[in-house]
């Protein structure tokens, strides 16, 4: 045991001798990017696409690691525990950043991270089936007022963004709907096609891929989108309901200032690159560009808003 400790100390001391004095030559070795969801999911596809565009901008390899589990909390916790040296960054989406800390006791909060840049943001669209009696949001609200509590909607799970979006809509419209949580988007879709629920919020790509079976009612965004010019917003119906599924590049709090600015610049350069633009268009992701302080302010606003919805709905787990 003692010998082991001495060897360990010696190795530690030797490593310290070789450690870079400051971040001036950052990055001088490969960077790890944590993705808190499985390989092949939306977050992962975008993370890999951005990692590919970041490599030339930073002049280093980026190794993408998937740490799936507990709705993204496992990977995000690990990122929060990592050293703030710029060699471990993460592609963290809205859920683990702004809803999970309100839902349960976690080892991290919104203040545990430095926010580098937003990578994607996709507004939610409330869909129903093509044979649904609801042609507009107004139809749905009117019917819900006539039959309080009898209309059921779905979601990809309790406490997810689609669920919070519906809670916000229900409260602002002054109606009463019943929630039937699914296990993921596919499960909610099955429930809708089978008639268990009337509809649920999805991302815009889902609407395009299932155009023959779904009717979009309204989009939860500030303005109409160019890819759906005929799709009205919730705002047009007098409801300020705006929800995006988004994610961004995040690092443990306390990055050295020069590392931070290098990462922010690299991200902006990567997002401006032709290759990345083309990949985003193929993935049907509208371009976003919000870095540093602007992105941090956005995350905090979302964190506060989602926290209030979760508190009002009494969703916090009593562990």
């Amino acid at each position: 045991m003692k010998v082991d400790r001495r060897i360990a100390l010696a190795i530690g001391a030797a490593l310290m001798l070789f450690a870079p004095p400051a971040a001036a030559d950052y990055p001088d070795r490969p960077i790890t990017m944590i993705v808190p969801f499985g390989a092949g999911g939306t977050t992962d596809v975008i993370a890999r696409s951005l990692a590919g565009a970041l490599e030339p901008a930073l002049g280093q390899k980026i190794v993408v690691i998937n740490k799936d589990g507990a709705a993204g909390v496992i990977g995000t916790t690990e990122l929060g525990r990592s050293k703030a040296d710029g060699y471990t960054i993460g592609m963290i989406p809205v859920g683990p950043l702004t809803t999970q800390p309100h839902l349960r006791e976690l080892a991290y909060s919104v203040d545990s991270f430095d926010y580098i840049c937003q990578a994607y943001s996709n507004p939610q669209v409330l869909i129903v089936t093509t044979d649904s009696p609801y042609k507009t949001l107004k139809d749905l609200i009117a019917d819900a007022k006539a039959k309080p509590g009898q209309i059921r909607y779905g979601s990809s799970g309790p406490g997810t963004i689609p669920h919070l979006a519906m809670l916000d809509f229900v409260r602002k419209a002054g109606i009463d709907l019943t929630h039937v949580p699914g296990k993921g988007e596919a499960d909610a879709f099955r429930s809708m096609l089978g008639g268990t629920v009337i509809g649920f919020p999805v991302h815009t790509g889902f609407v395009t891929a299932n155009a023959d079976r779904v009717r979009p009612l309204a989009i939860m965004a500030a303005q109409r989108r160019s890819e759906f010019p005929d799709l009205p917003t919730f705002k047009e119906a007098g409801l300020d309901v705006s929800f995006d599924v988004w994610g961004g590049l995040v690092a443990p709090k306390g990055l050295p200032a020069d590392v931070r600015s290098k990462l922010e610049k690299a991200c902006a350069a990567a997002q401006a690159s032709a290759v990345y633009r083309e990949q985003q268009t193929k993935l049907k992701m509208p371009p976003v560009s919000s870095t540093g302080a602007a992105f941090a302010a956005f995350v905090r606003a979302e964190f506060a808003r989602n926290g209030n919805i979760i508190k009002d709905a009494g969703l916090r787990s009593k562990q």
Binding site: A39, G69, A70, V180, D187, G194, F206, A209, N210
Partner: protein
């Protein structure tokens, strides 16, 4: 354009040399992960998914689905030879497959498993090709209430498979339900039995439980009597199945095909459930249930066919609606997204080449698998000549690797080892662990279906009980129970089967 034209176009895609090569890589790797205990189709897919990033959508999906159905072929090998399931869908094959191996009929069991697999898979591809859209419609019509009824029926049927007495089986089922309740509850997301560990919020990993209960505990039990384990030295003539064996297994293969295909349509761990159901059915209708577990060829033929027949059916909801019904098809969905093929209701229309190329490749891949697996039987059987001390170490290593690959976390390895110890203790006390695993699998789905059903009926149990579909299923349940009781009363089952060693 007719389906035949589309299919021939599909063959034109699948027969391109590089796609043919990818198909071979897929089915070969699938066989490997299927044979290796610990590594299942999910781990196989996860490991090779990054390799497909550079391929086109056709090649990627051809290779990855090859892993999925290839694994179903390989799974039976170690079940038969060592009583350690190569993957979860081959657990039930251990019962009669291993007994056959002890009698020197390992070759027969392996050949019948391969032939059954081929027939089951081929029929299910035809089903996928011809009836995909209407079957997908039928599938989405199964609401939570109907799903609950179906799941309860399944639970009742598969409890027949247990080799221990009823009170012990019931105890295992309750323990399984308890294990399934660990994690967030499906409606309110309240954490249950997580002790503040975030690793437990998704519940306990099913694969880790399965490998622990069946793989690790089997190694522990075998090592205990290692001095008495005689290596089996099969003679060459034992490799060839007797005509009577083939004839006896044909009806079981046909029934297994039907059961597997139907189960593949229902979301959930269809591979595991269909094999147990097929085994239960064979045991029931054989007229001599006591001979099961002692080397009945039907006990291998039925389940091994069923798990392959699920693969084609499991593709139906994925291809037609973009809804993956099991984890393996969810990974295939990821592969499609990576290649800019958005899975959904429009996929077959917008990307016919992907769908028909896949179907054609599945025909080719299954033929490859049969050709690959039959000669391998001789090699696999000779694995038995390796002293168990070496095999045990190798198998343990693969179990650890397999469990780690799924989520890259050492926590799951601990879970596997813990369940290895639990499985060892339970089996020492003559509890059959198969119902425990089934209850874990079913418990999760039964709970969500039950909770969703209650929301739909506004908490009204009476409305739940009076749905016509539920009544039909309930009738079937009562009938099964009654038949069981009558059989018991008439004394046909004076002695329960001896529990597994």
């Amino acid at each position: 354009m007719s389906s035949l034209d589309l299919l021939s176009q599909g063959f034109a895609i699948a027969l391109q040399p590089h796609n043919l090569f990818l198909c071979f890589v897929g089915v070969f790797w699938g066989t490997v992960v299927g044979v290796l205990p610990g590594l299942g189709p999910l781990a196989g897919l996860t490991l090779l998914l990054p390799l497909t990033f550079k391929l086109d959508a056709n090649g990627a999906i051809i290779m990855l689905s090859g892993i999925f159905y290839g694994a179903m072929y390989g799974g039976s090998t170690t079940s038969i030879l060592m009583r350690i399931p190569g993957e979860a869908a081959s657990i039930v094959t251990c019962l009669d497959g291993y007994a056959m191996a002890r009698q020197g009929r390992a070759g027969t069991a392996l050949v019948v498993a391969a032939v059954g697999s081929f027939i089951g898979a081929s029929v299910s591809i035809v089903g996928l090709m011809l009836f995909a859209p209407p079957l997908a419609e039928l599938m989405v019509r199964i609401g939570p209430v109907e799903e609950l009824a179906l799941l309860l029926l399944t639970l009742m049927v598969v409890s027949f498979v247990s080799q221990s007495r009823l009170p012990k089986t019931a105890a295992m089922i309750f323990l399984g339900f308890l294990i399934a309740s660990v994690g967030l509850d499906p409606v309110e997301a309240v954490a249950r039995y997580t002790f503040g560990l975030i690793e437990l919020t998704d519940g306990i990993n099913f694969v880790a439980i399965a490998i622990g209960l069946f793989g690790i505990s089997e190694i522990l039990l075998t090592i205990e009597r290692i001095a008495t384990v005689q290596p089996i030295r099969p003679a060459f003539r034992d490799l060839l199945p007797r005509w009577s064996d083939l004839k006896a297994s044909m009806p079981a293969i046909m029934r297994g095909t039907g059961i597997g295909f139907l189960f593949g349509l229902v979301p959930g761990p269809s591979g595991v459930l269909s094999t147990f159901t097929s085994y239960a059915l064979e045991k029931r209708i054989s007229g001599d249930p006591d001979s099961f577990g002692k080397g009945r060829i039907e006990g291998v033929a039925g389940p091994e066919t069923a798990n392959n027949a699920t693969t084609g059916a499991a593709m139906i909801p994925l291809m037609v609606l973009g809804i993956p019904s099991i984890p393996a098809t969810a990974l295939l969905l990821s592969a499609l997204i990576i290649h800019n093929v958005q899975p959904g209701t429009l996929m077959i229309q917008q990307h016919p080449e992907v769908f028909w190329g896949l179907i054609a490749s599945m025909y080719i891949g299954n033929a490859m698998l049969l050709v690959l697996n039959l000669p391998l039987v001789g090699i696999f059987v000779n694995l038995l000549r390796i002293p168990y001390a070496y095999l045990a170490v190798l198998i343990t290593v693969f179990c650890v690797i397999g469990v780690y690959t799924l989520r890259s976390t050492t926590f799951d390895i601990m879970v596997m080892l813990a369940f290895g110890a639990i499985g060892y203790a339970l089996r020492k006390f003559e509890y059959d662990v198969a119902p425990l695993l089934l209850a874990v699998v079913l418990g999760d789905r039964i709970e969500s279906a039950f909770r969703q059903s209650l929301i739909v009926t506004s908490g009204d149990y009476w409305r739940l009980a009076t749905s016509s579909f539920v009544q039909a299923i309930a009738g079937a349940l009562v009938l099964i129970l009654a038949v069981r009781l009558v059989i018991r009363a008439l004394g046909y089952r004076k002695h329960d089967l001896p529990p597994p060693e």
